[in-house]
């Protein structure tokens, strides 16, 4: 089971769009795939038309207390299941703090599912918290969508510092550019400067595209309603890069 986190300290950079589209592509390839919406905003859950509620989840999302398999919902797409968001995630940090191994809870929760899924995508809320640390420790790869601005570069460095400071090693960091607007001078400049300096950067880029915004209207992955669009092929290229990197 490959666990892939989609993360950025910053909000609104295309994390959810990435998690939803890549999970869809993995499932379509025949991989048994799970997407876990860890954000109380429940955007990913909304995209799959699922009601954001985890049965009996009050105060219980701690390993050993809840069987994740029981709260999994099938999406409309073959091979793709979802762990929907829950409003109680708002208090997740607090609950993790009282757990025994607070930074490894997510991994222990996922372990029983390891034979049921080939890929698990974690759609993470923005910010750095105990939840994020759990994600870093559970995941094999971390996808980092970045809007090409100088500010993003700074938050990227921040993250690397955090990982180093917490001795989180062995996590495959995969930054890539998201919401790229080639008409913007700054985007081009930032991309050029980072491309030269960072070997970790994935080649694929996700352009700023109205088809991605339309996911909110269609409530499904881009590929499912606009398979021939520019955005759809960008996500395909991204997914190929990710698979290559995790091989």
């Amino acid at each position: 089971m490959h666990i892939i986190g989609v993360y950025n300290i910053k909000g609104g950079v295309g994390k959810t769009a990435t998690a939803v589209n890549l999970a869809y592509l993995a499932a379509r390839q025949g991989y048994r795939t799970l997407i876990w919406d860890l954000d109380p905003q429940a955007a990913a859950t909304f995209y799959f038309r699922i009601q954001p509620k985890v049965k009996g989840s009050k105060n219980k999302l701690i390993a050993g207390k809840v069987d994740l398999d029981k709260v999994v919902k099938a999406t409309d797409f073959e091979n793709l299941d979802m762990l929907p968001a829950d409003f109680s995630y708002r208090n997740m940090d607090l609950r993790l703090e009282v757990a025994k191994k607070p930074t490894k809870q997510l991994l222990s929760l996922l372990r029983p599912l390891s034979h049921s899924y080939d890929y698990v995508f974690l759609d993470c809320p923005p910010s750095i918290s105990l939840v994020s640390e759990n994600i870093f420790r559970a995941a094999e790869g971390l996808l980092l969508p970045m809007i090409p601005t100088t500010l993003s570069l700074r938050t990227y460095k921040q993250l690397l510092d955090f990982l180093e400071g917490h001795r989180i090693t062995g996590l495959e960091i995969m930054p890539f550019f998201s919401m790229v607007d080639r008409r913007k001078r700054m985007h081009l400049d930032v991309m050029e400067s980072l491309q030269a300096s960072s070997g970790e950067l994935l080649k694929a880029q996700i352009p700023y595209a109205s088809d991605v915004e339309k996911m909110g209207i269609h409530r499904m992955p881009v590929e499912a309603f606009a398979p021939r669009s520019f955005a759809a092929s960008a996500y395909q290229a991204l997914w190929m890069d990710v698979q290559e990197r995790l091989r």
């Binding site: 025949g30 799959f48 038309r49 699922i50 009601q51 709260v71 999994v72 919902k73 099938a74 409309d76 073959e78 299941d81 409530r219």
Partner: protein, 517 residues
Amino acid sequence: MALNAISYLLPEGLDLGGLKKILAESNHFSEDAPVTVKQTYYDSFDWRIWQAGGELVHGLDQPNQLCWMDRKKFSVVVCQGVDSTPGFADDIPDGPLADRLTAVLAMRVLLPKVNIIQKKHTLRILDSEEKTVVRVVLEKNRYTAVRGKQKGELEGRVVLKPLKGYEDQFFKFKQQLAALKLRPAEQSLYEDALVGIGQKPGDYSSKLNYRLDPDAPADATARQIMIGLLNTLEANISGTKANLDSEFLHDLRVATRRTRSAMSQIKGVFDPQQLEPFKQGFGWIGKVTGETRDLDVYLLHYPDFRAGLPKVIQDDLDPFHTFLQQHHKKAQAELVKKINSPHFRKTLKAWRSWLQSSPTKSGHAPNASRATAQLADQRISKLYKRVLKNGLAIGPDSPAEQLHDLRKQCKKLRYLMEFFQSLYPKPAIREPIKALKIILDNLGEFQDLEVQAQSLEDFGDQMLKEGAPASSLMAMGILVGQLLEKQVQAREAFVELFAGFSNESNRQAFRKLFGGA
């Protein structure tokens, strides 16, 4: 709780279109565009997947997907992507399905059994968020034979597919379908299609499974047994010629050997003069099929041979593998020529027509009209006595020949018990057959290892002439040493195993079943 899909058949007077209309009245659904898919079902020649409770289908939902279905629950157990048409289990990419297939198929190859052309029309039942909560697939199915022109329509089906996390909606819908008098299908689609092409799963098995009439005259019974063996032999001819897998030739040879054994051991039922040319004919078949089978055996053992060597010299054995493959190719070509020869064909044809002709009364067949059960008792107990006597006469220093002879007698005894097993109470007859099998395995090992060690030396000589590297010959030398060592162990085990076989309780069991000593 994992729910399974349910397959329904429509009641009289309702078709798929009609059902859709009714469902539209009380459900909110959206329709996927109909798609047509081709599915091919696979199994080994002897139906090992089926016997293991499965169905193996290629192209179930996606063209390159191979899925194992539970044939009682009609549910998918495990799927795996494959990049070529299924063949040997070893060639399927690693994964849970490959593991399962390896265990079930062993050396047998997968063969296509039947195709199903399926036109599916999926209705997705939606909730208030337009989220799919149940899938209903309306299926129109046709079958086509893999070879030949047979094809036809199958009854339409409605498949109800649950979605994880939406169990309540699934149950509600199930009630709806029940109220419309749809009934769950009792047979899988595969079974329907097999009926269509006139095949019965499990219709071939190399196991002996006769239903004999104890009061029938012995000559009629002997013919019945021999016709069964001839059918088995002939069923394996085309697979042997095409060398689909090694088991075709093996089964063909076993049927040959059993036929010869039946000729000599079901004594006095036919005129020996009439039988003589057939004895020779089957002797010839046994002979001309031998070399290919021997090479098959070495090729099957090869992975174990290799793995048994120290890691550092395993690669040295590779030229031996090449040697085996080359010689196998030659032997196989030779074998095909023999099978295609008029002599082969005429032998089988004459044998069948002789078996089917009305028995000619002959003074040289004293047992011809004796009751089957009586003759079976007599022959088995007589042979058993001989096996006992000869086996007990073998001590630690007896020559190998004595064990080889005993093996032949044990084989004959085993065949007789298997031919006639339906005449005896079922659980009781299994015990002596099992007991005998233990002895046979031991004697077989003793003899085969010796033969193998000898052949390996001969192969080594040949390879030397063909310019094989010294390292290969050394590796083979080590192998020979290992084989001979195992052979010694088999020899040492014999006396004790035979003591077990001949103990009082086993003797009593034999006496009780077959009478006599």
